[in-house]
Symmetry: C2
Subunit: 84 residues, 2 copies
DNA sequence: GACCCTTATACGGATTAGCGTATAAGTTGA
DNA sequence: TCAACTTATACGCTAATCCGTATAAGGGTC
């Protein structure tokens, strides 16, 4: 799988949806884990920008994911392997 | 600089603060760029969890940063650092 | 001390997330 | 085809964001 880069809410939501499915969870099951409603998970994955940061972090945590913040890469992800 | 890993809102806020300072911007200047108030930037950097996702993404964009979502790695120095 | 720049905090008001609950719409499998 | 599961959407409600504006609290220099 290639890098999961998110520069906006929609990309972030799409990444979360893929990760959740890969974990074999439904929106409802994930929502239970993080004590939020299934409707909220739905909106998160849909990329709504006005959701709370807490919702995102809770979902990431439940899916055992972490965020990395880095300068925007100009080149496509494919040609950057490791620089050192 | 090593990876900027964020597993919670506080770490994310700290990363944003470092990035902003490195860019030579004040909270007010950054707030102007993304059409938010200086007070909102302050709360974002303080790691308040209930801020909107839109606020985070706007700040990242203005600082020319992007997010990478990946499986959690082993505990890093950054985690232990802010672990109390 | 006094001054300036930056950051943190406050108040009233408008908008809205997330709640509980419920249901419509979409998807999958027998 | 159709039932079962999953996801998207709705309504009334409470609480909290973010707004504009303003001010208090730090931090540095003279």
């Amino acid at each position: 799988m290639s890098d999961q880069i998110a520069r906006n809410e929609k990309q972030l939501g799409a990444i979360l949806r893929r990760a959740r499915k890969q974990a074999g969870l439904t929106q409802g099951a994930l929502a239970d884990h993080i004590h939020l409603r299934q409707a909220t998970v739905s909106r998160l994955e849909a990329g709504e920008p006005a959701l709370q940061l807490r919702t995102l972090m809770a979902a990431l945590s439940a899916l055992d994911l972490e965020l990395v913040v880095r300068p925007r890469s100009k080149a496509s992800a494919a040609d950057i392997e490791e620089m050192f």
